[in-house]
C-alpha cells in the first residue's frame, strides 16, 4: 500500500484554506473593507463655505459672520517650546497650557487639534508675527457668528462644536466642526450650513502628504450656505424686550392671516454675542447654571402656564357650538358660583355685577360664574361626564392646544388639555362629575398652555375659526417654504359663533367697565382679554391676549408676565403698546411706556428665593 502523502495533502489543504480566507477578507467581509475615501491613506482637506446670513422680515441683518482665529496644535511637531514666553504671549497659565496640550495629545499626537479657540482680530495681529517661533503651533482662520442687534437670542440660537454622539450619528460632521445647537441655527442647520467642499490628498503612514489623490477626481467644491429671512419683526421684538425689562415671562405675536411669528420674546434675555468668542464656554456655563432666572429657557415656547381668564374665550365658543347657551343666555353672579352643597364648593368672582348678565358683559367683566355655568352645561349635556369631557377636549384641541404645534422651532412643549381618560385616572372607577373639573372653565384647573399656543389661539379667534401653523422662517434663498405652513387648520367651532365673542373681547378694551379699558389705544380697535392666573408658587401671573384691528386683524399677541398679578397691570399695557408700535410704528402713551420700561418685579422674584 502506498504510504499516505502528508505533505501533498497539506499543500492542497493549506491552499484551499488560504484562498477561502482571501475570499472572505476581500469579498465577503465588509468590516475590513473601508470605503475608499475614508481610508486612512487618504486625507480629506475641507473647504468650509460661509454660513448663511439671517435677516428679519424687513431685511434688517440679525446674524452675520466674522472672522476668528484658532490656534492649532500638532503635539508631535512641538520642539524646544519656551513655555514661559509662550504662556505670557497667549495670556494663559502654565497649568492651562499643560491641560490643553494633554487634551490635544489625547485626541491625536499627529493630527492638528484646536489649542486655543476664537482669538480676536487684535490678538491675531499681535501673535501672527511671533507664531513662527513655536514649532507645532499655527493659526487657522475660521468663520464665526456675529450679531449686529443684541436681541432675540432664543430665536436665533447659537452654534457650537459638534459633540461625539452627534458625529457618530451623522457622518457629515468631523470633530471640531460647528453645528447649530439651538433656535433657528438648529432647525435650519442644513440650509444655513451649505455643504463643505473636500480635497482628497494621498498620504503615507506618517501623515505626510504625498500628492493629490487620483488627480482630484473625487474632490468637490463647497456649496455656500443659504440666507434666511425670518418672520420676526426686529423692531417690535426689541421693543417688547425693552418693555419686559426686569420682568420674567414670554411674549408671542403672530400675524393671523399667515401664521408668521412677528415676535418671540423670552425674558430674561441675554446678548447673543456672549455665545461667540473666547469667553463663549464661560458665558454659556454662567447662563446654563442660572437655575433661578433660567435665561436659556425659551419662555415663549417652553413655559407652561395655566392660561387663566383668556381661556374663557374657548369656554364661550364651546358652549355656543354645543348649543347649551346663546349670546343672550343670562346668568346672575353672586360674587361667585356655588357648584355643590359643601362649603368649599364655591368659585369666587370679582366681576361685581350682581344682576343677570349676557355673554358680552360676562366677557368684558370676566365673570367666573357665567363661564362655570356654561362649561357645566357642556359637560352635563352628555349622559356621562366622561363623554362630555371628551367632546370638550376635542373642541379645545382643535385650537392647537394640548399638543406640539409641529412647526419650525427647535423647542416646544405640549401644554395640557385634559380629557375623560385623564379624570378617570385621577378619580378611579369613574367617580367624578362635571363639577370636579369646573376650574377648567376659567383656565385654571388642569389646563396648561404655552405663550405661543395662546397666541395661536388668539390668532384663531381673530381669523374667526382657523389658523396657520405658526412659523419663524419667511423666506429661504432658493427653497420654497414648507407647504404645511400654507394650509389653514380649521377648528370645530362654526364661524357664526365667533362674532358675539369678539364683540365681548372688543368691549374688554373699549367699554369703560372693561377689565382692560385702561390700555385702550386711540384709533386702533383692539380686542383683548385679561388674565390673572393663580400660581401656587407665588404671586399670580399677569396675562393678556389681544388682536387688532378688530376687522381684518394684522397682529395677534399673547403676553405672560410671571408673578405680575392682574392681567391689566403689566401684560395688558405691554400687549397694547406692542400692537400700537407694530401697526402705527410709534406709540402715543409715553407715561405707560415709561412705567413698563422702568417697572420691575425683581422684589417679587427675590421673595420667592427666600421661601
Amino acid at each position: 500500500m502506498k504510504r499516505f502523502n502528508l505533505l501533498t495533502f497539506s499543500v492542497v489543504l493549506i491552499s484551499v484554506i488560504y484562498i477561502a480566507r482571501l475570499f472572505y477578507l476581500q469579498i465577503l467581509d465588509n468590516s475590513y473593507s473601508i470605503p475608499t475615501l475614508n481610508n486612512s491613506a487618504i486625507k480629506a482637506v475641507y473647504d468650509y463655505p460661509e454660513r448663511g446670513y439671517i435677516y428679519d422680515r424687513n431685511g434688517i441683518l440679525l446674524v452675520a459672520n466674522q472672522v476668528s482665529y484658532d490656534i492649532m496644535l500638532i503635539p508631535n511637531e512641538v520642539k524646544n517650546l519656551d513655555t514661559l514666553e509662550f504662556c505670557s504671549l497667549l495670556k494663559i497659565t502654565k497649568e492651562d497650557l499643560i491641560k490643553r496640550t494633554e487634551k490635544a495629545i489625547r485626541y491625536s499626537p499627529r493630527i492638528p487639534s484646536i489649542f486655543l479657540p476664537q482669538l480676536s482680530k487684535s490678538d491675531y495681529a499681535f501673535l501672527q508675527e511671533k507664531m513662527y517661533k513655536y514649532k507645532g503651533f499655527y493659526i487657522q482662520k475660521r468663520s464665526i457668528r456675529e450679531y449686529p442687534i443684541k436681541s432675540a437670542p432664543n430665536v436665533l440660537g447659537y452654534i457650537s462644536e459638534v459633540n461625539e454622539g452627534l458625529i457618530a450619528k451623522n457622518p457629515y460632521y468631523q470633530l471640531g466642526e460647528l453645528i447649530g445647537t439651538s433656535g433657528i441655527e438648529k432647525t435650519y442647520e442644513d440650509v444655513l450650513r451649505g455643504r463643505k467642499g473636500v480635497k482628497f490628498i494621498q498620504r503615507n503612514r506618517f501623515n505626510k502628504e504625498i500628492g493629490s489623490y487620483k488627480n482630484g477626481l473625487y474632490d468637490t467644491l463647497p456649496i455656500p450656505g443659504k440666507d434666511i429671512t425670518l418672520t420676526i419683526d426686529s423692531r417690535i421684538q426689541q421693543y417688547g424686550e425693552a418693555l419686559m425689562a426686569n420682568k420674567r415671562g414670554g411674549i408671542v405675536a403672530i400675524e393671523p392671516s399667515t401664521g408668521e411669528i412677528l415676535a418671540l420674546i423670552s425674558m430674561p434675555t441675554y446678548d447673543p454675542n456672549l455665545m461667540v468668542g473666547r469667553e463663549r464656554s464661560a458665558n454659556f456655563t454662567k447662563l446654563y447654571l442660572d437655575s433661578i432666572s433660567r435665561p436659556l429657557l425659551d419662555r415663549g415656547l417652553q413655559a407652561q402656564y395655566p392660561p387663566g381668564s383668556p381661556f374663557k374665550v374657548i369656554s364661550a365658543l364651546v358652549a355656543l357650538q354645543e348649543n347649551v347657551i346663546t349670546p343672550y343666555t343670562t346668568t346672575t353672579c353672586h360674587h361667585g358660583y356655588k357648584y355643590g352643597s359643601g362649603a368649599g364648593s364655591f368659585m369666587k368672582c370679582h366681576c361685581g355685577t350682581g344682576y343677570p348678565i349676557e355673554l358680552n358683559t360676562a366677557i368684558y367683566r370676566s365673570c367666573n360664574s357665567y363661564f362655570a355655568n356654561a362649561y357645566r352645561k357642556v359637560i352635563e349635556k352628555y349622559k356621562k361626564p366622561y363623554d362630555g369631557m371628551n367632546v370638550w377636549n376635542k373642541h379645545v384641541e382643535s385650537f392647537g392646544l394640548g399638543n406640539y404645534l409641529n412647526n419650525d422651532l427647535s423647542v416646544g412643549q405640549k401644554g395640557h388639555v385634559p380629557d375623560g381618560d385623564y379624570y378617570n385616572r385621577v378619580y378611579p372607577n369613574g367617580r367624578w362629575r362635571s363639577t370636579a373639573t369646573i376650574s377648567n372653565s376659567i383656565g385654571q384647573g388642569e389646563v396648561l398652555t404655552t405663550p405661543i399656543q395662546l397666541a395661536n389661539m388668539t390668532a384663531t379667534v381673530a381669523n374667526r375659526g382657523f389658523y396657520f401653523t405658526p412659523h419663524i422662517a419667511k423666506h429661504i434663498e432658493g427653497i420654497p417654504l414648507d407647504k404645511k405652513f400654507k394650509i389653514p387648520n380649521y377648528t370645530t367651532i362654526d364661524k357664526k359663533h365667533f362674532e358675539p365673542v369678539i364683540e365681548g373681547l372688543f368691549n374688554v378694551v373699549e367699554n369703560p367697565a372693561g377689565t382692560a379699558h385702561w390700555s385702550k389705544v386711540e384709533g386702533i380697535e383692539i380686542c383683548g382679554k385679561t388674565g390673572t392666573a393663580e400660581n401656587p408658587h407665588g404671586q399670580d401671573h399677569s396675562i393678556f391676549i389681544a388682536f387688532a384691528p378688530k376687522d381684518n386683524p394684522k397682529i395677534a399677541i399673547a403676553v405672560f408676565v410671571e408673578n405680575g398679578y392682574w392681567g391689566s397691570r403689566w401684560a395688558g399695557p405691554i400687549a397694547t403698546l406692542m400692537i400700537e408700535k407694530y401697526l402705527t410704528g410709534k406709540t402715543n402713551r409715553p407715561l405707560v411706556e415709561e412705567r413698563m420700561f422702568k417697572g420691575s418685579i425683581q422684589d417679587e422674584y427675590d421673595k420667592q428665593l427666600l421661601r
Binding site: 482571501l22 476581500q26 473593507s33
Partner: protein
C-alpha cells in the same frame, strides 16, 4: 558521453526553472510597487530597494550556473562537510555577526550583508538526505530517530540563540520528510492532537477544553464498548491513560501560557484568536496587513494603485509583508493565482522528488518542498491573520538578497540532482 556530461543544462526540469522565474518576476513587481516613490521611479536605480533587488536577481544567474556546473555526486559526497561548514558559519555569528533589528544574524561586507541561516537550510537538507540514504537507516528505531533529531536540533538551536526563533521554526518542516521516510504516524497524530488541544485551551479556556475532551473520550469508550468489544477489553486502560495525559497537557498549557510566557508572546496569540482587539500597538501589523489585503477587493486596485501600499501603511511591506501588496493591488484574483502558483510549484517538487532513483535525491527534494511549504504557510498565514506574527520571508517574493540566494541554492541543487538521474542506474 563525456560531451553530454559537459552540457550543464542537460536533463534539467524546465518547468521548475519556469516557476522559479515567474515567481521571481512577480515578486520583483510587487517589491517595486511597495518601495517606489514619486521622485524615485527609474527602474534602474541602485539606491532604491527594488534596484538592489535587481542586482541580487542578476547575481543569482552566475550562482545558478555555478551550482549546475558541479558534479551532482559532489553534493552527496561532501554533504557532511557542507553541513559542518554551515554550522561553523552560524557559530561565527556570535563573534563576528552584525546586529540588525535585534538579531545577530548577519555578516556584514561593506555595504551589503549576508544571513547565513538562509543557506544552512540547504546544508541541513543535504545532511538529512545523506543520513537517510545510509544503509542502516530505519525510523522505527529510537536510535535513528535521535540521529535525525540531532541534525535538526543543532542549527535550530543556534538560530534560536541569535535570536531568530522564526527562522528556527522552519526546521519543523523536516517532520514531513521523516514521515515520508517511515516515521510512525502516531508522532504526527500526537502533534495534531496537541495542537488542537493547545488552540482550544487558549480560545475556550482549560475547563471547557477539559470537559469537551472528556465528552469525546467517553464517546470513544462507548463506541468501543458496543461495537468493538474485544478491542475494548484490551484498550480501555490505554484510552483512559490518553485522556489523563491530555488533561495534564491542558493544565500545563494553562500554566506555561499564563506564567512562563511573557506578555508579548501572549499578546500575539490573543490577537490572532480575536481575544484582544488591539489596532494601535501590538496588533498594528496584523491589523494593517489584513485591512490592506481586504482593501484589494475582487480585482484589486491595480499595479502601483494601492492606496495603502503607496501610503506605506504596512510595516516591512517589501519583506515579510510583501503579500499585502499582492492582495491590495491584484485583489482576490491575483492573490489566489499567487497561492496556486506556490502550490503547483511545491507539488511539482514533490512529484519530481518521488521519481528520483536515489534515496539521497528523493529526501533532498522532499526536504526543500517541505521548507518552501513551511515558509509559504507561515508567511502568508501571518499576513492574512491566520498565524501568529512570525517573521520569515515569502520565498522569491520578499525583498532581501540572502533569502533570494538561499532559496535559489536550495532549488537549483535539487534541479541539478534531478538532472543527474539519467546517469543513475
Amino acid at each position: 558521453m563525456r560531451h553530454k556530461k559537459n552540457n550543464i543544462f542537460l536533463g534539467i526540469d524546465w518547468l521548475l526553472v519556469l516557476f522559479y522565474f515567474i515567481l521571481i518576476f512577480l515578486g520583483w513587481l510587487n517589491i517595486y510597487s511597495a518601495t517606489v516613490t514619486e521622485d524615485n521611479y527609474d527602474i534602474i536605480n541602485f539606491s532604491s530597494e527594488y534596484g538592489k533587488q535587481i542586482i541580487w536577481i542578476g547575481l543569482s544567474i552566475p550562482l545558478i550556473l555555478l551550482i549546475l556546473m558541479f558534479d551532482a555526486k559532489l553534493y552527496e559526497k561532501y554533504a557532511s562537510i557542507i553541513y559542518l561548514v554551515s554550522l561553523i558559519s552560524l557559530v561565527g555569528l556570535f563573534v563576528l555577526g552584525k546586529n540588525i533589528n535585534g538579531a545577530t544574524s548577519w555578516y556584514s561586507f561593506g555595504s551589503f550583508s549576508l544571513q547565513p541561516s538562509e543557506f544552512v537550510k540547504a546544508a541541513t537538507a543535504l545532511a538529512m538526505a545523506k543520513l537517510v540514504s545510509e544503509k542502516n537507516f530505519n525510523l522505527k528505531k529510537i536510535e535513528t530517530q535521535l540521529q535525525s533529531m540531532f541534525i535538526l536540533i543543532i542549527p535550530a538551536l543556534l538560530i534560536t540563540l541569535q535570536p531568530d526563533p522564526g527562522s528556527a521554526l522552519v526546521y519543523g518542516a523536516f517532520i514531513f520528510v521523516l514521515n515520508r521516510e517511515g516515521l510512525p504516524f502516531y508522532y504526527i497524530t500526537i502533534g495534531i492532537v496537541a495542537l488542537a488541544l493547545f488552540i482550544s485551551t487558549l480560545i475556550f479556556g482549560s475547563t471547557t477544553t477539559l470537559l469537551g475532551s472528556l465528552a469525546l473520550f467517553v464517546l470513544i469508550l462507548l463506541y468501543f464498548n458496543f461495537y468493538r468489544k474485544k478491542a475494548f477489553r484490551r484498550g480501555w486502560i490505554n484510552i483512559i491513560g490518553i485522556y489523563l495525559m491530555s488533561a495534564l497537557f491542558i493544565f500545563s498549557i494553562d500554566l506555561v501560557f499564563n506564567h512562563v510566557f511573557e506578555q508579548r508572546h501572549r499578546d500575539r496569540f490573543n490577537i490572532l484568536l480575536g481575544k484582544t482587539a488591539d489596532t494601535k500597538s501590538i496588533g498594528y501589523n496584523t491589523n494593517q496587513s489584513v485591512t490592506t489585503i481586504a482593501n484589494g477587493g475582487f480585482l484589486g486596485k491595480g499595479f502601483l494603485e494601492g492606496e495603502r501600499t503607496k501610503g506605506d501603511f504596512v510595516p516591512e511591506q517589501q519583506t515579510d509583508y510583501i503579500f499585502t501588496t499582492v492582495g491590495e493591488e491584484w485583489g482576490f484574483i491575483g492573490s489566489s493565482i499567487v497561492i496556486l502558483l506556490f502550490a503547483l510549484f511545491i507539488l511539482r517538487i514533490i512529484r519530481i522528488a518521488e521519481r528520483q532513483k536515489t534515496k539521497f535525491s528523493r529526501v533532498y527534494g522532499y526536504s526543500i518542498a517541505a521548507i518552501f511549504f513551511t515558509h509559504f504557510t507561515i508567511n502568508v498565514g501571518m499576513v492574512i491573520g491566520l498565524v501568529p506574527t512570525i517573521g520569515i520571508p515569502l520565498p522569491f517574493f520578499s525583498y532581501g538578497g540572502s533569502a533570494l540566494w538561499g532559496f535559489t541554492v536550495l532549488l537549483f541543487i535539487f534541479i541539478k540532482l534531478d538532472a543527474n538521474r539519467i546517469y543513475e542506474w
